[in-house]
Amino acid sequence: MGGLQKKKYESGSATNYITRNRARKKLSLSLADFRRLCILKGIYPHEPKHKKKVNKGSTAPRTYYLLKDIRFLLHEPIVGKFREYKIFVRKLRKAYGKAEWSGVQRLRENKPAYKLDHIIKERYPTFIDALRDVDDSLSMCFLFSTFARTGKCHVQTIQLCRRLSVEWMNYIITSRSLRKVFLSIKGIYYQAEVLGQTITWIVPYQFAHNHPTDVDYRVMATFTELYTTLFGFVNFRLYQTLNLVYPPKLDGPGEASLRSGCDEDYALDSESYSEKLSALSASLARMVPVMEEEETQLDHFPAEGEDLEKMEAREKEELERDAQKKLFEGLKFFLNREVPRESLAFLIRCLGGQVSWDKSLCIGSTYDVTDETITHHIVDRPNIDKQYINRYYIQPQWVYDSLNAKMLLPVEDYFLGVTLPPHLSPFVEETEGDYVPPEKLKLLALQRGEKPQEENEEEEDDDDDDEEDDDDEQSEEDEEEEEEAKLTEIEEKRTKGKNLPVKVTPGKVKAENRTKAEQEEKAEEKRLAIMMMKKREKYLYEKIMFGKKRNIRDANKLAAKRKAHDEASKTDKKKKKKC
């Protein structure tokens, strides 16, 4: 009937999205600037549901942003700063070209700078939001803080990253919120629980980086810029929650002793101070002196049914956590020089232990090797010359495993020269049907309080039992065979006499396995029912079943591998014994 004809692509999803290039033109920014803006403002592309509709019928691959997002970017003051910076660079280049050195200096002094505070506030309106998103910034800052001072990025950035990461570690130590650690081949994963948020970060091992050529450091630098700002504010707030002084200051007596100790090692006072902070051996100064040990008792609420169970579980968890916090309390550690000092010092201090190292290794050591009260000496070499009798010499993995197990593991497995037990990931939570490595089972048993039996004896017993069983079975079988043989003999004797033309063979009794038949019936029933499924449901069902089967297959594979390995090692052992 009447009315204007509706034109295509003038409403709906075609108008809700905008391609990247059009967005860039709309903002009149270069691609690099647009990228930076998107990173800083946290704008990410969207995948439209119907690409063809959005792309006006074409199916060419394109990146789309929401038009709303781009409109939101239009009013960003930082865009103006980008332009200023562009102009600054142009002027500087010109001045260089003309060799106007005074001009260059003047320009450099007036280099335009921008702050990201408002962006942080805008992106994370509440502190918890920011804390939730701090994972990546932690990993990035820890990575940047390990970069060499020359080359890939500004020295100030590296220093800032180092400062912030040290602040973070000090906070974690003070709040004792470290929960899990994992030594992977990539680096060391840490997981902490800060204000109820689980935060995981990874720290690379302390080595010089081989800077890859196919990585765009500008992107990384932009992210770091954002992350350091966010991280700094988060740190400030976290220090505030614990009534700590920010920027961190060492506690009074510790500070004094340190200052008197080794001031001559570092030329700059500020430098030595930051080094002392990063040594992680002293506690931090507080705004308000803390009351000693304020025991907080959880209030009990009357609850029923499920809630009660939940409450109990929660309480139990709480108790466990407290135990973990105080795991190393009263223990005194000494780190040998070849172990990763920072990681271990961080860990031990997080669990309430005391830690020290050789004076020449790093600033901030509190006691010497010769201290008689040292309980654990962490060594990562096959043996050590001078051993004290009243301390354990253990490998560093013990510390990590103990933290993950939330208990002090038996030190025997971690003595010097001993083959270490496998280091398991604390992040894996096995559900039903998953493969659980036997070490984990053992650990769980330990945690439940069951005493581990002596492995070797057990194995031997098992072997003996098996052999005995085998013997028994064999003997039984033999007996049966003998009986049968007798019977046949008798029969033969009987038949020989008569020689009948018709041979009667005994009919075989088909053992009707009732359960099996039942199962088969059920399986068939299921198969038939599956035939009647709708197409879509069938697809989904098959997909789920495929995934399940794959999981089972993987688990079986792992189990088989383990079994093969165990057998191989057992035979090796036996051979050795025989030799």
Binding site: K121, F127, D133, D135, H209, P212, Q397
Partner: protein
């Protein structure tokens, strides 16, 4: 000048005479020349004085010069020589140091190569070339000569000592023009006095040239002066100079090119200034402009407009950003924001000391390496290290962080609801097959005998006999209960269809092969029935007016009759399917042919009548069927089933099957439901009361369906397929119109083997028992009970 005598001069004339003749006239002129610019020649003279004059014509000129030079003073000669050498020394300041000794030395040097040349002829050829080069060099020599001349003339003016660039060749005033312009004239230019300079008389031919070459020891050092056309013999020094220049050396032997440099500007302060210019006055007077500028700045500072620069803050200042958390600041976009998913947490296999089962075996590692980095399940190889100390840096650490960054700002984010379904819940709840008994469950009998695939089977209405038609051109009759073949009948072609008359009082079987339909009386059942059937057929009387029919009816007689053949219906085309009406009088035949309207014919056996019900072809007819109760006729074409009312003679319904190609069709005994099997593995159930679209489409089979069948009493239907299986389903049709039929698959019957991609070809139920017969491509009929 006198060119004539010189041109007429014969070669035989002795040289000396020539000289004598010309001497007198030319002498003054050449003297002049000599005095001005002929010093080069003078040099020659010195040598030539000793050398032998073997030249014929050349020497005319040179001889003249000789004479001229003879007249010159010896002192003068020496002077000239001095000057010349000084030029050779590239006109340096050290002119005075030159001595004649050097010249002598150099001449000695030259004599040696001269001798060599004489020795070998080959070298002479080379010398020819070199001589041409020498000629080129000659020009440069002339230039130097000019300079020397200048020296000579203006020796007292030192200023222009080296400035000879703009000087012309004064011997010849024609200027810098191509000399070939004068090649047709006897003269070659004009001297300073405006007199013609005549070319030397040269009428040397090849022979002269050759003789000259042979005899004249100085031939190799003789060059032609282009400006004057005269032959010039180069002196030893000149030759040496040329040689040195060719070698790229300095002309002067004594010149040291590596003398220590004397620094002009140095760090040492000299007592004298570099320039002696007095300072300007303005350098002593203070600048007004500067004063003005400084004044302005001072004023600005006084007024507080200019402030001292504060050092820029390098370290960022942090403060409590979230001091006042404003609930209003949480905007809609924060709610819409999709936070980036966190990084995946590592599993056991990433440990530096993983349990042994997580390490890759050799094959796994190879497979991992061969995979594309994108397809790998793990992005790294699990490794085991004996101690923490041995763990190296992870080389891809920065890469991984970078990839995470890229993910954060480049990846589109979308909220996806994860389907969390218990797969068991997806399985529909159906009544258990156990509760739906009876239905066939096991294969109990196999009817063996046919040697080829069995296209069609049919059961007698009593359920006692079974007929099967096969591609081996036989029809076999079986006893159902014993699987014994009672009768085998050979027919003239591969049997496409068999159908037992559903009327129990008539014992007739319709068999179709090629374009014939045969009505057989197997004589298996009650003799009464058999006889009555025979009677029925024989009692037919030809009507008076015989109609023109498409089909020819013939009564079998003789041997055929003995065998049981009763009637033969010859069709115009190949018959594919035969089907009886429920009453047993009408018989429908299908002759698939897309082009004609004669695809379906209905025969009336009692009246031996044939009619073609359709005037128009509506597509390739696959199969037809009569409604069991009402006068309806079902015709299945490739994609549709059409239902015709035979009485009203109209189309009542058109069923859309949604299939590509219907293969078979069966009507529910109630008449309200139809199933259609198709070659695209589907079975469509139609409820005629409900819709023309399928009530349910079942896709149970893996391959094409060949046959479908309903049971006459039990709520069962079966489908046969090329995958070698027969699926029996419970298909309950309720009397209540509101309740939809219940379809439950109850049994998959397997037994037939698949031969040549064909499995089960036909399926039919026993009329009374819940048994199902199936015939397959393997030449067997099987009974499932």
């Amino acid at each position: 000048m006198r060119p004539a005598p010189s041109s007429t001069m014969s070669k035989l004339k002795s040289k000396k005479r020539n000289i004598d003749e010309d001497e007198d006239d030319q002498l003054p002129i050449f003297e002049k020349d000599n005095s001005k610019d002929g010093h080069l020649d003078d040099d020659d003279d010195d040598d030539e004085g000793q050398a032998d004059h073997s030249d014929s014509e050349e020497s005319v000129f040179s001889g003249l010069e000789e004479s001229g030079s003879d007249s010159d003073d010896e002192e003068e000669e020496e002077d000239e020589e001095d000057d010349d050498v000084s030029v050779l020394k590239s006109c340096d300041v050290e002119e005075d140091k030159r001595t004649s000794e050097d010249v002598q030395l150099s001449t000695k040097d030259i004599t040696e190569p001269q001798n060599d040349i004489k020795g070998s002829k080959d070298k002479k050829k080379k010398k020819k070339k070199s001589s041409s080069e020498v000629k080129k060099d000659d020009e440069s020599v002339t230039v130097t000569s000019q300079r020397i001349e200048g020296l000579k003339i203006l020796s007292h003016v030192d200023e222009y000592e080296r400035d000879s660039s703009d000087e012309e060749d004064i011997r010849n005033t024609v200027g810098n023009i191509p000399m070939e312009w004068y090649k047709d004239y006897p003269h070659i230019g004009y001297d300073l006095d405006g007199k013609k300079i005549f070319k030397p008389i040269r009428n040397k031919d090849e022979l002269d040239e050759f003789l000259d070459k042979m005899e004249n020891p100085d031939y190799w050092r003789t060059v032609q002066d282009k400006m004057t056309g005269a032959d010039i013999r180069l002196s030893d020094e000149q030759v040496e100079l040329v040689r040195r220049l060719q070698q790229g050396k300095f002309g002067d032997v004594n010149f040291n090119e590596y003398e220590p440099a004397v620094e002009f500007f140095s760090n040492e302060v000299m007592i004298h200034p570099v320039t002696n210019r007095p300072q300007d006055k303005r350098s002593f007077i203070p600048s007004l402009i500067e004063k003005e500028k400084v004044g302005k700045l001072v004023h600005a500072i006084k007024m507080g407009w200019i402030k001292p620069r504060r050092p820029a803050e390098t370290t960022p200042q942090y403060y409590d950003l979230w001091a006042k958390e404003d609930p209003n600041s949480i905007l809609g976009r924060h709610k819409m924001h999709v936070p980036a998913p966190k990084m995946k947490l590592p599993g056991h296999e990433e440990s530096y000391n993983p349990p042994p089962e997580y390490l890759m075996s050799e094959e796994e590692r190879l497979a991992w390496e061969q995979l594309d980095p994108e397809d790998r399940k793990l992005s790294y190889l699990p490794q085991k290290f004996a101690c923490l100390r041995a763990v190296p840096a992870y080389s891809r650490f920065i890469h991984e962080r970078f990839e995470r960054c890229l993910d954060l700002y480049l990846c589109p984010r979308q909220r996806k609801m994860r389907v969390n379904v218990n797969p068991e819940d997806l399985i529909p709840k159906l009544p258990k097959p156990k509760d739906l008994h009876p239905f066939p469950t096991t294969q109990s009998l196999v009817y063996l005998g046919h040697s080829s695939l069995i296209r069609s089977i049919s059961v007698s209405p009593s359920g006692q006999w079974l007929v099967s038609g096969s591609d081996d051109c036989t029809v076999r009759f079986w006893e159902v209960s014993t699987a014994r073949c009672l009768k085998t009948m050979e027919v003239g072609g591969a049997v496409k269809g068999v159908a037992w008359n559903p009327n129990p009082s008539v014992s007739l079987v319709a068999v179709s092969f090629d374009n014939t339909v045969l009505l057989l009386n197997p004589g298996l059942c009650d003799r009464l029935v058999s006889n009555s059937t025979d009677q029925l057929i024989s009692s037919y009387e030809d009507p008076e007016e015989s109609k023109d029919q498409h089909v020819q009816w013939t009564v079998s007689e003789g041997e055929d009759h003995e065998q049981g053949h009763r009637l033969t219906l010859k069709h115009p085309k190949a018959v594919r399917q035969v089907t009886w009406h429920g009453k047993g009088d009408y018989l429908a035949c299908v002759m698939p042919d897309n082009t004609s309207n004669l695809q379906v014919v209905i025969h009336q056996v009692s009246k031996r009548r044939t009619q073609n019900p359709f005037r128009k072809s509506k597509g390739l007819v696959q199969c037809v069927s009569f409604h069991p109760i009402r006068p309806y006729f079902f015709v299945a074409t490739q994609r549709y089933v059409r239902v015709y009312n035979l009485i009203k003679q109209e189309l009542t319904k058109k069923l859309m099957t949604n299939c590509k190609w219907i293969s078979s069709m069966a009507i529910h005994p109630g008449g309200d439901n139809v199933i259609c099997g198709s070659y695209d593995c589907r079975l469509a159930w139609f409820d005629l009361d409900l819709s023309t679209k399928p009530y349910k489409v079942l896709r149970h089979h893996k391959k094409a369906l060949r046959g479908v069948a309903y049971h006459r009493h039990y709520p069962l239907f079966a489908s046969a397929s090329d995958d070698g299986s027969v699926i029996v389903c419970h298909g309950m049709v309720y009397n209540d119109l509101l309740q939809n039929p219940l379809i439950v698959p109850v049994k998959v019957l397997k037994g037939h083997s698949v031969t040549q991609d064909l499995g089960v070809l036909d399926v039919t139920f026993h009329p009374t028992q819940p048994w199902v017969f199936s015939s397959g491509a393997d030449g067997t009929v099987r009974l499932f009970t």
